[in-house]
Symmetry: C2
Subunit: 249 residues, 2 copies
Amino acid sequence: MTRDESAAIDAFERLGLTSYEAKVFIALQQVGSGTARDVARTTDVPRSQVYSVAESLEERGLLAVQQASPIRYRPVSIEEAQTTLRNRFEREQERAFDYVEQVKRDSVEEETQEDIWTVRGRERVDDRVVDLVSNADDRILFGTRLPDLVTPALGEALENRAAEGVAITVVSRDEGVRDKLGSLEGVTAKRPPTHREGDKRSGRILIVDDDGILLSVVDDSGGETAIWSAGSLFASVLIQLIEASDEIR
Amino acid sequence: MTRDESAAIDAFERLGLTSYEAKVFIALQQVGSGTARDVARTTDVPRSQVYSVAESLEERGLLAVQQASPIRYRPVSIEEAQTTLRNRFEREQERAFDYVEQVKRDSVEEETQEDIWTVRGRERVDDRVVDLVSNADDRILFGTRLPDLVTPALGEALENRAAEGVAITVVSRDEGVRDKLGSLEGVTAKRPPTHREGDKRSGRILIVDDDGILLSVVDDSGGETAIWSAGSLFASVLIQLIEASDEIR
DNA sequence: ATGCTGTTGTTATGATCCTACAAACGCGCT
DNA sequence: AGCGCGTTTGTAGGATCATAACAACAGCAT
């Protein structure tokens, strides 16, 4: 069992297959088609188990069963397997969220709660940044010294807002960041006036209108953690404090 | 626990969450945000379990944790949760199939094996039909008495083939089927010459070039099962037998 | 301070379920 | 009988579910 193979099996497991199912499917893709014995030979799945495993794979639409003696199995094409799995995923997701949308509380007033939230992980922070940006009505201020933190999704969101007349300022001491975002229609890119030499931990800063703020830091191992708040007194006070300093402006 | 709710929980489980995780996520969407106790109140998840469950949900990016006392939890928006899950799915699928593609045997000769395969389930049959159609070079003959078995994907596939100069004939005694497919560019729709009154079981028939055939039946409970073969002597013989009769033509 | 009460967050402990894995069995064939 | 095929049964291990116990702490009356 190679390193790659067990990684692939793990991935299949996260897609909802059991490890036997993953192994049988992979084995069948290797040998093209074959009997239970053929499959058992190329994997460490016991032959007696192949039958039931193949049956459940058939129900999932990942292989075809030939009624013969001995029974032969044949995998569907890779493309077909992918679309089958994807369709299944979309169907389940729809079912799951349909209900959630039904029962979701209309959280109207809740926006003004005095809450500061923590988000861990680069992608999570990405999502939150885009979400905040997308709700901007008046102005957006975004800053980071790390080009990696400027994602395509952020660019799109900023462009959309700019098209709606939202004033957008990007602040960075990194030329790449300024070029990438400054080239967008309606986006102004600046250098921060001061330069703190020892700054190796700050990640990004985002200010939206006068009531939304996000601030992230990057720890030693590269993990990003952000705090954010929107529509709270906290947020507006923090914004005032930050903008009173001349770090960004 | 309503019927809908447990269905939604099942769907979340198939997406890879545990039932506790699903319950906590749903509960948080209902209440907006809250403490472990709030969550435990609106579900049957024991409060002591909420903490660890919420932690794993945070790792999945489905909720945010507020560092306070007591700890407060807040779900991400439904849209964000969906894209997070979808991204995860796509990533895993890519990982899984990358490996499969690496090791997939170049099954060259294998096409000409003498095999007849069985496919169970409407969607599976749909997929196979589209796959066979897409590989047609010369001509396609498709027939069914059931309008439901004419899917959009089939229509597209036929249109594509027609554009490549493949001769396409659709045979049905159902006017709706003839209209739907006959209206496509390059598709000829016909009525079958004979009419067997007692035919309540046949599903669809597909003949591709002179070497691919698929035949499906519908059982009492509406389930569809198909047999098919391509590139085999079986297939060509069957095609000759069928076309010798005047049932379709 | 002291003691009481209720809550919070953590941890431990069975019960239960599913998968992984192994072995045996019935059957048809030669 | 001997052999391969397909089915069935049994067991060990792990994850999840469900409940309980625990220390730490805040509020409040003595």
